[in-house]
C-alpha cells in the first residue's frame, strides 16, 4: 500500500458532484453457470462522483464493473448507463461503450501498433474521425498523462507505469463521460504506482465520473466520495471515506480493513 501526500487547499472530494444519475443498477444478479457471483446489487452513481470499490478477492468487484460496459452479461435486474439500458441490443451496447472508458489491470495495449496508433484506433474506426484530428486528440491526451515523447514507440518499449498511463490516454481519446478502473496499479512495480495514481487524481479533479476497483486506500482517502465494500457478491457496506476507514460498521468490513491496513 503506498502513502500519498496530497497538499491541496481545496478538498477535491466535494467538487463537481451533481444530482444527475450516471449509472443506475437495481436488483442486478449474475451467475457463472450455477455459481451466484453477484447478488441483488443496488447502486446509483451520480455524475462527477468518484467511487472506490474494495473487497477480498472473489467478491465480484471486477465482475460488477465489467457488467457496466457489457464485458460480462447480467441475468436479472437492470443496469442503466447515461439513460441507456444495457440489454442484448447491440445498438445499446455500442452507445454505452462509447460513453464508458475502461482501464485494465494488465494494460492490454495493442503491441503491434505504436502508442499513437493505439490511441487513434478507436476514434478513427468507431467515431469515424479523420486521421489528423484523431492524432491531435491523441497528442492532447498523451500530454495530459505526461508522456507525449513516447508517441511513436511501441508498447513493448515502455515501462509498466508508462504503459498504464498510455492505457488511460487511450480510453480518454474516446471522450467518455464515465471511467472504469479495474485494479489499475496491481500489476505495477511500487515505484511506478504513484505516477499512475497522480494521473487518476488529475482526472478526478476535472470532474470525471470514476468507478475504481483498487486496494490503494490512500487514493480512496484522498479522492473518493464513497467507498463501497463488497463480499460474496453483494454490497456489504458503503460510506464516505472518513467514516468508512475510521468507523466501519460491519464485522466483515472491520476484518477486511485490519488485513489491508495492518502492514
Amino acid at each position: 500500500m503506498s502513502e500519498l501526500t496530497i497538499d491541496r487547499e481545496i478538498d477535491p472530494r466535494h467538487m463537481h458532484v451533481t444530482d444527475e444519475v450516471a449509472i443506475g443498477i437495481s436488483g442486478m444478479n449474475k451467475w457463472y453457470g450455477a455459481f451466484h457471483v453477484l447478488r441483488d446489487i443496488d447502486m446509483i452513481v451520480h455524475r462527477g462522483e468518484r467511487i472506490v470499490i474494495c473487497g477480498p478477492s472473489g467478491s465480484g468487484k471486477s465482475t460488477l464493473i465489467r457488467c457496466i460496459n457489457r464485458l460480462e452479461e447480467h441475468q436479472t435486474g437492470q443496469i442503466v448507463v447515461d439513460g441507456t439500458e444495457l440489454t442484448s441490443d447491440l445498438k445499446n451496447i455500442d452507445k454505452v461503450r462509447s460513453e464508458v472508458g475502461m482501464v485494465f489491470q494488465h494494460f492490454n495495449l495493442f503491441p503491434h501498433l505504436t502508442i499513437l496508433e493505439n490511441c487513434t484506433l478507436a476514434p478513427i474506426w468507431v467515431r469515424k474521425t479523420p486521421k489528423k484530428e484523431a492524432e491531435e486528440i491523441a497528442m492532447h491526451f498523451l500530454h495530459k498523462v505526461k508522456i507525449p515523447e513516447q508517441a511513436l514507440k511501441f508498447p513493448g518499449q515502455l515501462s509498466g507505469g508508462q504503459q498504464q498511463r498510455v492505457a488511460i490516454a487511450r480510453a480518454l481519446c474516446m471522450k467518455p463521460r464515465i471511467m472504469l478502473f479495474d485494479e489499475p496499479t496491481s500489476a505495477l512495480d511500487p515505484e511506478m504506482i504513484k505516477e499512475v495514481l497522480d494521473t487518476m487524481i488529475g482526472l478526478a479533479e476535472e470532474g470525471m465520473t470514476m468507478l475504481c476497483v483498487t486496494h490503494e486506500m490512500g487514493f480512496a482517502q484522498a479522492v473518493a466520495n464513497r467507498v463501497v465494500f463488497m463480499d460474496q457478491g453483494q454490497i456489504v457496506e458503503q460510506n464516505a471515506p472518513e467514516e468508512f476507514f475510521n468507523n466501519p460498521q460491519s464485522e466483515r468490513t472491520r476484518l477486511f480493513l485490519s488485513q489491508i491496513l495492518g502492514h
Binding site: 464485458l71 462509447s98 492490454n108 486521421k131 518499449q157
Partner: protein, 402 residues
C-alpha cells in the same frame, strides 16, 4: 597453459575441434575412395547425360525415353514441386477452416473437427496415402460404368468431372485464338498463361491502388468509402475480358470407346498423394491456427470491445495481425514438411524427384553415391529457400521490444 588462459581457451578448443573434424572427414573420404576403387566405380556425374531409357507417365515438359537422365531428373523435380504447391494451397485452406471451426461455440462442429485433427495426426502419412489410393482404385467406378441409359455412375459438377478408378478427368482449358508458345531453352512456355498471369498481377496492383486511395479518403474525412464492389470489378473484369478475347472455352471429358477422351487426366497416384498430404498436413495446420488464435490474450479483445469496436473489426485490426505472427512461422515449417513428404510418392507410383533420380536412374546406372548426393542437394536447396523466406518474414514483422 593455453587451455586455461581465458584469452586463448576458446581458440585452442576450436583448433583441437577442427583438427578432430578434419581427421574424421579424411577418414570417411578415404574409406569411400577405397570402397569405390574396390568395386571398380569412379565418382562422376556423367550419367546425367546418358540415355534414360524409361518412360515417365506424368510430365510437365517434353520427355520421352530417349532423353537423358538429367532431363528425367528435371521432370521428376517439376512433378515434386507441382504436387507440393497444390498440397500447400489445399492444406492451408483445410487447416485454417478446421482450426477456426475447432474454436467454434458449436459443440458438434468443434468435436467433429477434433476427431478429424486427432485422427489424422496420429496415423502415419504413408498409411493415409495408401488408404486414399486404395479408395480411389478400388471403390471408384470403372469408366465403362458411366456408359449407357442407366449408368451406374455419373459425373459431377454438371457433367464436367469424372472420378474413375484410374484417375480423375477434369475439363481442359483451351484457347481458340491462342497466342502460341515460346521455347525457353529447356521447355515451352504458353504465352496465354503468361498473359493471364500478367493481367492478374496487374489487377492485384490496381486493387492495391484502390485500397490506398480509400485509406487516404478515410484519413481526410473519417469515412471509408465502400470499396468491395469496386475491388470485385477490378480483380475479375480485366481477366474475363482477356479470357474472352483469347477465345477461352473448356473441353469436357467425354466417354468414347473404353475410356474418357479429352479433358485433363489426373491420375490416381497424383490425386491420392495430393489428398493425403492436404488432409494430413491440414490437421497440423489446424492446430497451429488454433494455438495462434488462443495465444492472443483475451484482454486484447476486451480492450477493443471496451473502446467500442465491433467483433469483426476487432478481429481484423487487433487479433489477426498478432495471431498471424504466431501462426505463419509454423505454417512455413509445414510447407517444408509437405515438400519433404512428397518423397513418399514412390508408394503409389507417382514419378517425383525421388522416384526418377533416386529410384529408376540409380537402379539403372548403379550410381548410388552420386545420385543420392544430388538428390539430397536438391532437397536441401529447396528447404533452405523456404527457411530463408520464413526468416525474412519473421524479421519484418517482429514486435519491437526493449
Amino acid at each position: 597453459m593455453l587451455v586455461y588462459d581465458t584469452r586463448y581457451r576458446s581458440l585452442t578448443i576450436q583448433v583441437v575441434f577442427l583438427f578432430l573434424f578434419m581427421a574424421g572427414a579424411a577418414w570417411l573420404i578415404d574409406n569411400t575412395l577405397q570402397n569405390l576403387a574396390r568395386l571398380g566405380k569412379d565418382f562422376s556425374f556423367n550419367f546425367l547425360w546418358s540415355r534414360a531409357g524409361y518412360d515417365i507417365n506424368q510430365r510437365f515438359v517434353e520427355y520421352d525415353s530417349g532423353m537423358t537422365h538429367g532431363r528425367a531428373m528435371l521432370v521428376g523435380l517439376l512433378n515434386t514441386l507441382f504436387v507440393a504447391a497444390l498440397a500447400c494451397v489445399t492444406a492451408t485452406v483445410i487447416g485454417v477452416l478446421a482450426g477456426v471451426a475447432r474454436l467454434s461455440t458449436n459443440w458438434i462442429v468443434g468435436r467433429l473437427m477434433t476427431v478429424y485433427v486427432e485422427g489424422f495426426r496420429n496415423v502415419p502419412l504413408l498409411l493415409w496415402i495408401l488408404v486414399i489410393f486404395a479408395v480411389m482404385t478400388e471403390a471408384m467406378p470403372q469408366p465403362s460404368a458411366f456408359r449407357g441409359d442407366e449408368p451406374a455412375a455419373s459425373m459431377l459438377l454438371f457433367d464436367s468431372v469424372a472420378i474413375t478408378n484410374r484417375g480423375t478427368y477434369i475439363p481442359e482449358p483451351l484457347f481458340a485464338r491462342s497466342l502460341g508458345d515460346i521455347y525457353v531453352g529447356l521447355f515451352y512456355i504458353s504465352l496465354d498463361l503468361v498473359a493471364v498471369i500478367a493481367v492478374f498481377i496487374a489487377s492485384l496492383l490496381g486493387n492495391r491502388v484502390l485500397l490506398r486511395h480509400a485509406e487516404r479518403v478515410q484519413n481526410e474525412t473519417g469515412v471509408r468509402p465502400r470499396t468491395w464492389w469496386k475491388s470485385v470489378l477490378i480483380l475479375f473484369v480485366p481477366l474475363l475480358i482477356l479470357l474472352s478475347a483469347l477465345g477461352f472455352h473448356l473441353r469436357y471429358p467425354e466417354l468414347r470407346g473404353f475410356n474418357f477422351q479429352d479433358g485433363i487426366f489426373m491420375r490416381n497416384s497424383l490425386m491420392a498423394l495430393w489428398l493425403a498430404l492436404s488432409l494430413y498436413t491440414g490437421a497440423f495446420i489446424a492446430e497451429n491456427v488454433r494455438a495462434g488464435i488462443l495465444a492472443i490474450s483475451r484482454g486484447q479483445t476486451e480492450a477493443a470491445f471496451a473502446l467500442g469496436m465491433r467483433p469483426r473489426r476487432t478481429m481484423r485490426l487487433v487479433i489477426l495481425p498478432q495471431a498471424l505472427r504466431v501462426i505463419i512461422p509454423p505454417l512455413i515449417s509445414q510447407y517444408l514438411n509437405i515438400t519433404k513428404n512428397t518423397s513418399l510418392a514412390l508408394a503409389v507410383g507417382y514419378m517425383d524427384l525421388r522416384s526418377t533420380l533416386g529410384g529408376i536412374t540409380i537402379n539403372q546406372t548403379g550410381r548410388e553415391l552420386e545420385g543420392m548426393m544430388l538428390m539430397m542437394l536438391v532437397y536441401l536447396v529447396i528447404s533452405l529457400l523456404i527457411s530463408l523466406a520464413m526468416n525474412i518474414y519473421n524479421r519484418s514483422v517482429r514486435l519491437k521490444e526493449r
